[in-house]
């Protein structure tokens, strides 16, 4: 189908929820009140690592309005998605400053907040460990000595008796031995700090454990099924008894995937006498006590031949998961298996460890291991380009993976499908858009330098191989369609894109396709999770199959009425036509609830289409070799196993201005180029590309959680945890989408909404490297860090800048 043939796809369609959001009428969990509701508040640890000797809450119970106080003794169960290491309230030990140790439930938030100050906790301090390398030492204090007894998902491999929550290794070719053949070897250490997701809405949950045993929950989760299942598993309640409802959600960025605080609030509701209980996080609580984003230290080594080909690559990621690694084990594992980025490398050894420390726990994050591994690899590519005196575009181009070529494989040993995307085209387009070959115009102050930098990225969804999705379409009496999907709508625009796909497939105007704001396990069919840029691709396919299913039912009825075989019918403009004989038709309105003959008899009934997506081609990776396990032929697939259902290729190029005197970096121009297969909604696609650019910039230049001496988060607010603001956004953003369709994608589309931030981060540092030869390997690139890096690596540059500054100053005398 050519682009012009579409009626809905490719048009800029604002997501309907935008109107409610900008008018302040969109209801979030935070806004919801139920009759008889009680309010919970957490008491948190003041110790980084300690045995809890006693908790005396007698005084708290005397505060008027306080109903109950709960501690870890009340619910000593662990929860989690991959490594079930989280507790709901500290079980015997406090593991970080901020660890919830008790919860007060009261008739008002005011009473609860008064009461938490009256809960007396006596601690028996244990030695803490804050650094990953310290945590790896044999005599390091252990955070989770019982890890062998936790629920561990297949594909994960904690090392009992250590602080290693997961260990992943991948060996391709000769692994480390491959360095023997290298002409150039570069070794560097990289760092990324702990970060906060900075979603505008914090974690908020209302739970009502009813006397019937049904548990009704309203929560700010990304999607409903994962938290429901994980909660049922850990609490031992029947999964069907839990009704997980998700109203509007104020952003997620991966930080609301998996299970949040739903199990705790449900148990508080039960303990408080089957009353609805609400627990909302202040920003400070969210940043000190709830999961954030893991930092890491990475030791990397890369070998090149003289002609610029990558010969061998080795990287060892030491992810700092904080006190719980629950979801982060998969971020770390993904950084490991995707460590080779967009490049074809013969010899690879990647190791990725997820390591516990006595700091705030961590969880999933937009990009999920890819911003992390690209920060290392895309920086190394530019360092090599400089050493080899090669153009950064060229050195990338000659090393890129070759989709469709069976000899060009990912780190885990699988070739890319031929229709995976135009990887060379992405690089070329990005370079063209930034006018790569044109020198930037230099500012008049000689202490400022403008430079261009580029980076590539790839990203696919990190999901278990058996993550499946379903979708339902049902008709209303006016032949409009309701879409039933459990895909979360927290600002990405995915559900709106799904609506456009359905409108296109049914040939219905958009206003005849309805979506709803309230997501729930009660009426939406199963979807594994809304994460990983996967939903347009996976749920989109399920929906297209649901549309086909519905059409089959429609044609069956129409065929009987029009007396022509079903395969000669088509659906357009809200009518069923006989192909080639458009005067022979029945309006859909006369079919959707069955066709009624003039005598009142009805044929058929309500039309409901269902469809699924099942990623048959995925298999686990062996945790010791990182290679994909062979595929079962029973699934109808024969190719080697894959880690993801698609990859999307991207590139960001930037022009930055560096002030050598202050270390200030300004991003002046940026390109965002992605091969997304099909642009379903250019408006929200552009929105994602801009948003991702800003998020990437923000992580490159500003964001960092700062820890105090006891490992507590010292900047749990947006005054001191700075996130890019309107004034920081570059004026000149050049976005281009390539559309190389992927056969199984809906209308060819691939997901891309995480990819958009990945290459931004290294591209900025690459520009600095190119202009000054100063290698920055630690984030964020704060003024002082940049200034110090220049002073250490290129003192001559600072001297020159200072001299020019003196001259400028003295020119004023007269």
């Amino acid at each position: 189908m050519s682009k012009q043939a579409f009626k809905v796809l490719g048009k800029p369609v604002p997501p309907p929820d935008s109107y409610e959001k900008v008018t302040g009428t969109a209801p979030y969990t935070f806004d919801m009140e139920l009759p008889g509701m009680l309010y919970a508040k957490l008491v948190t640890s003041t110790e980084p690592h300690a045995r809890i000797k006693s908790i005396d809450y007698s005084k708290a119970l005397q505060v008027p309005g306080v109903r109950i106080v709960a501690t870890g003794r009340d619910f000593p169960v662990r929860i989690g998605i991959y490594v079930g290491d989280r507790d709901m309230l500290a079980i015997e030990k406090a593991l970080w400053v901020g660890h919830p140790v008790a919860a007060v439930v009261a008739e008002s938030i005011k009473a609860a907040e008064k009461a938490i100050d009256l809960v007396e906790v006596e601690y028996d301090p244990l030695p803490p460990v804050f650094d990953v390398e310290e945590a790896l030492k044999p005599d390091a204090p252990l955070l989770h000595p019982d890890i062998a007894n936790y629920k561990i998902s297949p594909a994960f491999k904690p090392v009992p008796g250590t602080n290693i929550a997961n260990q992943f290794r991948m060996i391709k070719g000769e692994g480390e031995a491959g360095f023997d053949k290298a002409d150039l070897v570069i070794e560097k250490t990289f760092k990324m700090p702990f970060l906060h997701h900075a979603y505008m809405e914090t974690w908020n949950t209302i739970a009502h454990y009813k006397v019937t045993g049904d548990i009704e929950i309203w929560t700010s989760s990304q999607s409903p099924y994962a938290p429901r299942y994980l909660m049922a598993m850990s609490l031992g309640v029947p999964v069907g008894k839990i009704k997980m409802r998700i109203p509007y959600v104020g952003g997620g960025f991966g930080g609301k995937a998996g299970v949040l605080i739903e199990p705790l609030v449900a148990m508080l509701s039960k303990k408080a006498g089957y009353k609805p209980v609400k627990l909302v996080m202040s920003r400070a609580e969210q940043m000190r006590s709830m999961p954030v984003i893991a930092g890491y230290k990475a030791y990397a080594k890369i070998g090149f031949s003289k002609d610029g080909k990558i010969v061998a690559y080795k990287v060892r990621f030491l992810f700092d998961t904080g006190a719980f690694a629950d979801y982060t084990v998969n971020v770390a594992r993904t950084a490991g298996y995707a460590c080779t980025g967009v490049y074809d490398m013969p010899n690879v050894y990647c190791e990725s460890l997820a390591i516990y420390t006595n700091k705030v726990p961590t969880t999933a994050i937009r990009g999920f291991g890819y911003p992390e591994n690209h920060w290392v690899l895309e920086r190394l590519m530019d360092m090599a380009a400089r050493e080899l005196r090669m153009d950064p575009v060229k050195i990338r181009s000659i090393n890129l993976l070759r989709p469709g070529d069976p000899t060009s494989t990912t780190g885990y040993g699988s070739p890319l499908r031929a229709d995976a995307g135009d990887i060379q085209g992405v690089l070329k387009t990005s370079a063209e858009l930034i006018e790569w070959d044109k020198e930037p115009e230099q500012p008049k102050e000689p202490w400022k330098i403008r430079a261009k930098g580029i980076a590539m990225s790839l990203k696919g969804p990190s999901q278990p191989p058996n993550a499946v999705d379903a979708a339902i379409v049902k008709f209303n009496e006016d032949a409009s369609v309701d879409i039933l999907v459990a895909t979360g709508n927290y600002g990405q625009g995915t559900v709106n894109a799904l609506r456009m796909i359905v409108a296109e497939a049914f040939d219905l105007p958009l206003d005849k396709v309805h979506i709803t704001w309230m997501n729930s396990t009660e009426w939406m069919p199963y979807t594994w999770q809304t994460v990983g840029s996967r939903s347009t691709f996976t749920v989109g396919q399920a929906l297209l199959r649901a549309v086909e299913d519905a059409k089959r039912q429609i044609f069956d009825i129409a065929s009987a009425v029009l007396k022509v075989p079903a395969d000669q019918l088509e659906l357009a403009d809200g009518k069923v036509y006989v192909k080639g004989e458009p005067w022979m038709s029945i309006p859909l309105t006369e079919i959707v609830n069955g066709y009624t003959f003039p005598n009142g008899q009805v044929l058929g009934g309500p039309i409901i289409g269902r469809g699924i997506h099942s990623p048959g081609i995925l298999s686990y990776l062996d945790p010791d070799t990182g290679q994909a396990l062979p595929i079962n032929p029973e699934t109808g697939h024969s190719e080697p196993g894959h880690a993801t259902v698609f990859y999307t290729f991207g590139s960001t190029a930037v022009e930055v201005e560096l002030d050598l005197l202050t270390g200030d970096i300004k991003v002046l121009k940026a390109t965002q180029v992605y091969d997304i297969g099909r642009v379903i909604n250019p408006l929200t696609a552009k929105g994602q590309a801009i948003g991702g650019l800003i998020m990437g910039m923000s992580r490159a230049l500003y964001e960092e959680l700062i820890f105090d001496d006891s490992g507590g988060v010292a900047n749990p607010n947006f005054s001191f945890y700075y996130v890019a603001r309107a004034k920081d956004i570059p004026d000149d953003i050049r976005i281009k989408f390539l559309e190389t369709p992927q056969a199984d994608g809906p209308f060819g589309a691939r997901g891309f909404s995480e990819n958009v931030m990945i290459a931004v981060i290294p591209a900025i540092a690459n520009a600095i490297e190119r202009a000054t030869g100063v290698s920055i390997t630690e984030l964020p690139m704060t003024h002082e860090r940049v200034w110090r890096a220049i002073k250490e690596q290129r003192p001559d540059l600072i001297e020159k800048a200072l001299k020019a500054f003196q001259e400028w100053k003295n020119a004023s005398q007269g």
Binding site: K41, T662, I706
Partner: protein, 297 residues
């Protein structure tokens, strides 16, 4: 800003309609009563449990505390409850006054954000006493004074030295500031403000400076003040004195920077080391002074 609370501790809220009434309440309750102006600082401190009060005395109902008046030759009078946005609006409508008080105008537009500035006041910003506030620097270079009134009298208190720390001032608990005057700058003066923020919304170094007759040693006046870099607002008086010497401006800038860097005690925190702050004070001060002298600011 790391406390977990949504609610405020308990207090009695009073909103007197006249200055007399307000002074009465303060006199009666002493330390137990705290003045609330825009409340941006007071509410935050209460929420953080860093401040306790039996009475919160909201002074926004006192009509005479809201005013802006420029009296040529004397200065710019800004009422205590005048918000930062009201000041910005006034200065934008009176370009001549704005140019006289350019540093104040620039600092005001950099202060917090447009929404907060609807409540935040200049007087409150100075009296809140956190190291990185934007209003105190310009106040120092314009020799600002606050008019403090109590039941037992009234006095003009120089802003330089009024603040002793966060929420700590030289004022008595029963005194209300009714207005602040930014004195008439020297003839021919230009002023400007630099807020250098790094990973926080506040500056790690903020410089306010004023320069008059840079190339005429006899008439030359230079004033320099800092916030953000130092625990308390810092007026670089020794450096200012240097500019009385009959030497070229550029050379004196260099000397001044050295004197400042040698004398000043700077902050060190996770956002900037002491070294970096000192170094930046040099760069930013030089840039600001030279540009002011050349008319390029």
């Amino acid at each position: 800003m790391s406390a977990p609370y949504f609610t405020l501790p308990e207090f009695k809220y009073v909103k007197p309609g006249s200055l007399e009434e307000a002074l009465e309440i303060l006199d009666e309750h002493g330390e137990e009563a705290k003045i609330m102006n825009g409340g941006i600082g007071v509410v935050a401190f209460l929420k953080e449990r860093l401040m306790e009060a039996e009475y919160i005395v909201d002074i926004k109902g006192i009509p005479e505390l809201k005013k802006i008046e420029y009296i040529p030759g004397k200065g710019l009078y800004v009422g205590a409850t005048t918000t930062v946005n009201e000041l910005i609006e006034f200065l934008e409508k009176s370009p001549e006054v704005r140019e006289k008080y350019r540093a104040l105008y620039e600092a005001s537009t950099h202060l917090a954000d447009a929404i907060l500035r609807n409540r935040a006041t200049i007087v409150g910003d100075i009296l809140e006493g956190l190291p990185y506030m934007d209003a105190p620097g310009p106040a120092l270079i314009f020799e600002a004074e606050m008019h403090a009134v109590s039941k037992s009298g009234e006095r003009w208190v120089p802003v330089d030295g009024i603040v002793m720390g966060p929420m700590m001032t030289q004022l008595q608990p029963n005194e209300i500031v009714t207005e602040i005057i930014f004195k008439e700058p020297p003839e021919g003066a230009r002023s400007g403000y630099v807020k250098f923020a790094s990973r926080t919304e506040y500056g790690i170094v903020n410089v306010a400076a004023l320069v008059a007759h840079p190339n005429d040693p006899g008439k030359r006046v230079v004033k320099i003040a800092y916030t953000g870099a130092t625990a308390l607002p810092y007026r670089a008086r020794e450096a200012e004195e240097l500019f009385k010497k009959p030497e070229p401006f550029g050379k004196l800038v260099e000397e001044a920077v050295k004197v400042i860097q040698d004398n000043v005690e700077v902050l060190e925190d996770p956002y900037a080391s002491a070294d970096f702050r000192k170094y930046l004070m040099g760069i930013l001060t030089t840039q600001l002074l030279v540009k002011l002298a050349r008319g390029e600011w």
